[in-house]
């Protein structure tokens, strides 16, 4: 993974010092609430229901064991002993004290981490495929380009006060595991007719109140022009994006109101004027690529016989292997998911003890590295198949081996009313209830690939609009209600879910979800996935059953 040089280290230290000064100025009354708000958000600090919340950047989801131990330390020293992994691969602490945040930033800087631009109307952390570099369907490793984009976006002087937040995601694989079509800019590594690798650029995707699927603005961009093209898009957005209405300020609205053709012309005209002189040199790309060379894989890993023996001898292990590990491009290796979706734990949360233990496991089995995923789990990407059984045992002891990755209990969920000042609904409680109702693992596995995404408010932090089943908490005269959508997806066939009908009451939501799943199980055709069935029959059969008793 990318290792800081002196310049990188200086930058995060100077940023932490700058933020310490800003915090002091605020506490002395030299900055107004409004002014300080803009500055603290750009350092990841929200003011939430019970306490501030601090979001820490995990660039394109890559972490090492040293950083994980530091997160454990921060959880213990500055928080209540746990942290939360988000859908954009970042980490959040829910109980830091405003006055101590500068100390946390110093701690982070000591392990090459920071909170720069994790909130605010600026360019946010770049996200990517959590299987980058090991996926079997990968055209090229996206991480070097993510790092190039990370550096370009960090402290960019011109684009720090945009109309609204701006998110970029990069994918280098056939299957989009980074929800790139739902970002302000999506970048896909593709090959052109001449066999050259470059980028397909999408623009204007986004979630929130108005979910929109991004559109292709450029089918093929030479690698050397990546940054100049991004700059052209950002300059047009900064100048012409709406600033009169917060809810119409994202680039998706600008693209929609301008029209893709006209918007593309504006970008093209801007790009033509800046592209010469901003080229990414081959040497620069090579220098960044050198940080992502494959680790020293064991060439004999595939000779192992023990895995087959363990799989046939131990059904629980076999189930975990089936659901929580993924194919690896190197024979004899697998990528192993760490499920942060245990039935009795809030989705995406980890305790300090778990963080420390997983750091040890990463050191022992996976070259000291791990990744966070868009669906709020972790991945140890380079596990020798001979080590899988020991790893599974260790994860089981840590309650991190629930074999539910990609299933209906692998719920994406926001912190909700429990922690967030924006929420209308207690999403964590509902997730727990759904989990309890689906306590039969065989049934869960029989249902197969159903992705439930649940947000506690319109901001849609848990991407409910693109969940196969989306659940959105809304407030009706002071009580919690839930809107349900079906048929959304954030993968290749990205789609916005269709609303099932009127919102259901808090005490009916779990029943509604189990009814939907029941309709699917009873009416599906052979091997038909939930999403395929929704496409085939529409929402009516589900709607009829869910509202039958109303």
């Amino acid at each position: 993974m990318y290792q800081y040089n002196e310049q990188d280290q200086t930058l995060v230290e100077e940023r932490a010092a700058q933020y310490r000064r800003q915090t002091e100025d605020f506490l002395k009354g030299e900055l107004t609430e409004d002014q300080f708000r803009a500055l603290r958000l750009r350092n990841g600090l929200y003011i939430q229901t019970h306490a501030p919340m601090l979001r820490i950047a995990v660039p394109y989801g890559l972490l090492n064991s040293k950083q994980l131990r530091k997160l454990a330390h921060i959880a213990r020293e500055f928080d209540k002993g746990y942290c939360h992994f988000t859908t954009r691969q970042n980490v959040q602490f829910n109980w830091p004290e405003l006055e101590r945040v500068p100390d946390i930033l110093d701690e982070l800087a000591s392990v090459q981490m920071h909170s720069i631009q994790t909130s605010g109307n600026c360019m946010r952390n770049t996200t990517s495929d959590p299987l980058a570099g090991v996926a079997i369907d990968e055209l090229e490793d996206p991480r070097p380009y993510c790092e190039i984009i990370r550096q370009w976006t960090t402290l960019h002087p011109e684009f720090d006060y945009l109309p609204r937040k701006f998110k970029i995601a990069v994918s280098g694989a056939q299957l989009d595991r980074a929800a790139t079509q739902l970002h302000d800019i999506g970048v896909h590594l593709v090959k052109n007719d001449q066999g050259e690798t470059g980028f397909r650029i999408l623009v204007g995707g986004g979630l929130g109140r108005t979910p929109v699927i991004g559109q292709v603005i450029r089918p093929f961009l030479d690698k050397q022009h990546l940054l100049s093209y991004l700059e052209a898009i950002l300059r047009i957005y900064n100048l012409f994006g709406r600033r009169d209405n917060k809810y119409k300020a994202r680039i998706k609205i600008l693209v929609k109101e301008t029209g893709l053709d006209k918007f593309s012309e504006l970008v093209e005209a801007e790009w033509q004027q800046i592209k010469d002189g901003m080229e990414l040199s081959d040497a620069r790309i090579a220098a960044i690529k050198a940080h992502f060379t494959p680790p020293a894989y064991d060439t004999d890993a595939a000779q192992d016989q023990s895995l087959a023996t363990q799989l046939s001898a131990n059904p629980a292990f076999a189930t975990w292997y089936k659901y929580n590990t993924a194919a690896h491009r190197v024979p004899g290796y697998r990528a192993a998911f760490i499920s942060l979706k245990a039935p009795d734990s809030p989705p995406g949360d980890m305790t300090d003890t778990q963080l420390d233990a997983v750091a040890d496991l990463a050191d022992r089995y996976s070259f000291g590295q791990l990744r966070s995923t868009h669906r709020q789990n972790l991945i140890l990407a380079d596990i020798k198949q001979a080590d899988l059984f020991s790893l599974w045992q260790a994860l089981t002891n840590l309650k991190l081996a629930t074999p539910n990755i990609g299933t209906v209990t692998d719920i994406i969920c926001c912190p909700g009313l429990d922690f967030c000042s924006l929420a209308n609904a207690g999403s964590i409680g509902v997730a727990k209830e759904i989990n309890e109702a689906l306590d039969d693992l065989d049934y869960v596995h029989d249902i197969g690939d159903v992705k439930i995404n649940m947000s506690g408010c319109m901001n849609g932090c848990a991407h409910q609009s693109v969940g196969h089943i989306g659940i959105l908490g809304v407030d009706k005269k002071g009580s919690e209600w839930y809107q349900i959508t079906l048929g959304g997806s954030s993968e290749n066939e990205a789609a916005i879910g269709e609303r099932l009908g009127p919102a259901v009451a808090r005490d009916e939501v779990t029943q509604a979800i189990t009814t939907i799943l029941d309709v699917y199980v009873k009416q599906r055709q052979e091997e038909e996935s939930f999403l395929d069935m929704v496409k085939r029959v529409g929402i009516t059969p589900f709607k009829e059953r869910v509202y039958a008793d109303h």
Partner: protein
């Protein structure tokens, strides 16, 4: 009043002229709309002339006149309106403006470093006691990741 220009404290020689005010002697600064309205008159003005740009103005409107304008003020009504950062970049990077670009109005002292990187070389403080902070904040960072004007 004193301002910062090119990292030094200097006396401001410009008088800000309202759209309906009679031109004064010496150096004056006018809004873009007044510049468009009284262009010929202002070109003949014996002192230096500056133009104030709001975030909603277009820098292209000034492109042909830049050689005759001594000062461009980027007037912040709201520190969060980042269009002025692009205006500065365009003035320097696209139109190669060589004169003074000055931040005025409600910008944050914490934006000084970024403003300087996009080509702003002068800062009008809201209060005289901010001069030292402006000078200090020009050095918030000693490193940078991407090209801009500076």
């Amino acid at each position: 009043m004193q301002i910062i220009k090119d990292k030094a404290i200097i006396e401001d020689t410009f008088t800000t002229l309202a759209d309906d005010a009679e031109p004064t002697r010496g150096d004056i600064s006018v809004s873009l709309s007044r510049w468009k309205r009284d262009r010929e008159l202002l070109l003949a003005h014996p002192g230096k002339v500056g133009v104030r740009l709001q975030a909603s103005d277009a820098t292209a409107d000034l492109a042909d006149d830049l050689k005759r304008i001594d000062l461009i003020e980027l007037d912040f009504a709201d520190f969060a309106d980042g269009r002025l950062f692009s205006h500065a970049w365009l003035l320097r990077g696209r139109y190669h403006y060589q004169g003074e670009i000055r931040a005025t109005g409600h910008y944050l002292l914490d934006q000084i470093f970024y403003l300087s990187r996009v080509g702003v070389n002068a800062f009008k403080p809201a209060k005289a006691e901010q001069l030292a902070s402006i000078l200090a904040n020009l050095h918030d960072f000693s490193v940078k990741y991407q090209p801009s004007i500076v």
